[in-house]
Amino acid sequence: MMQPVSAQPRGWFELVRTHLLKDLRIEWRSREAIQSMLFFALLVVVLFSMAFDPTAAASREIAGGVLCVATLFASVSALNQAWTREIRHEVLDALRLTPADRSAIFVAKVLANFFFVTVVQILLGPVFFIFYNLRPLGNGWLLLAVIPLGTWALVANGTFFAALSIRSRNRELLLPLILFPIFLPALLAMVLAVKTVLTGDGSDPHLLWLKMLAGYDIIFMTVSLLLFDTVLQAE
């Protein structure tokens, strides 16, 4: 049922909440994004462990990379879905017509996708540690900062570029082609930070990679917010 539309202009946070709840409700009903991501990431983890057949020592070295790449590949499918859903029934056009602040739409989408990817990581994490026989030798709690920051970098850029590539032909193909090169520095920082934690080799005493990841997040989130309206209104 349609709810009565109030004429009162809404606050920015209320807009974000409305969009976010809508996305979460759609996902709760279909579970498309999380299921497909989860299975895909699981496949990548299995594929890598078969392709490399790692020993315990070697797996500490490569596990960070495998986890990041598995997340990366898996989230592309969900990110493609994020805006495709809005195309059905011309929701995207309706959103563009609303007088509300566009950045609220973007932030809500990023939050929703961040939540989906995080759920996948939480479910996949134990499997990952079992398959690769991992036991962090460094400060394991740092992973709680590294992984969300890296995921944020991926999801914020991915949501932005998904909105960008939705207007092209072959949009499903285009997203990874433009997202991966831009995401490379964050991937590098994330992989090296995870590796430092897992191997505990003390090669990064000043948490340089964590700081770089945070800086990357701030820079790219700012630019995305500034340019999102341009992308949404690109005609």
Partner: protein
């Protein structure tokens, strides 16, 4: 008359290239430790400098396109032509850098490639601009120009981050020849002359290519414009 001038300019550039070749291969003395393979330097470094110049032009032109998009559409179209043309020429120059680099590294370092600061930065830069050119193929019309300009800004932001990341990480590339410390700079005047001539020759060649490409793109824009007008008029 105009045609004659163009032909003379073309001949001048080719003569300059031949002179630069002569300087690099026959005039400049053989380097003491590396031998003849060092002569690649006269091609590698000018091409690298110029590819950065062209990517910078593309970045500035993209910003100008976004700034003028609504206020001055005709100027924005010119800016878009510059952005596209300089990205294309930049990718060509960058490819030369990426090919000549390993050719030099194999005899001198003993390896074709290493994941070092400048090598990684250059490769990522190349990847970003190839994805930029792909985006321009995948999307169409005015919205494609906007999306491409946005991507170009993201790409330009990425480069300093990658560069700093790799400086912290590990580096194998020779220290900067100019401005790299008290010992930097080319000491032999004949070598410096050969280097200077080659920078000049490649700059003339690149700028000529750029000018031609911009000219062609402007004509194509006009053709597309006429086709659109004709289609709207129902002819």
């Amino acid at each position: 008359m105009k045609r004659l001038l163009l032909l003379l300019a073309f001949a001048g550039v080719v003569a300059l290239m031949a002179w630069g070749f002569n300087q690099a291969i026959f005039v400049a003395p053989t380097e003491a430790t590396m031998g003849d393979v060092q002569r690649i330097f006269y091609y590698h470094v000018p091409n690298a400098m110029l590819s950065f110049l062209f990517f910078a032009i593309s970045f500035v032109a993209s910003i100008l396109f976004l700034a003028w998009k609504n206020s001055a559409p005709e100027r924005a179209q010119a800016a878009d032509a510059w952005a596209l043309a300089s990205a294309e020429v930049g990718v060509v120059f960058c490819s030369v850098v990426l090919i000549t680099g390993p050719l030099w590294a194999r005899p001198v370092w003993g390896i074709w490639w290493t994941w070092d600061a400048r090598l990684t930065t250059t490769l990522i830069l190349w990847l970003i601009y190839v994805s930029y050119l792909l985006l321009r193929r995948f999307a169409e019309g005015a919205q494609m120009q906007t999306l491409a300009a946005v991507l170009s800004i993201f790409g330009a932001l990425d480069v300093p981050i990658v560069y700093m990341a790799n400086r912290w990480w590990r580096t194998q590339h020779p220290a900067p020849v100019f401005g790299g410390g008290p010992d930097s700079g080319i000491k032999d005047p004949t070598m410096l002359a050969a280097f200077g001539w080659n920078v000049l020759a490649w700059a003339a060649w690149g700028l000529m290519l750029l000018a031609f490409r911009v000219h062609v793109e402007r004509r194509q824009q006009r053709i597309r414009h006429h086709q659109t007008v004709a289609a709207l008029a129902g002819k």
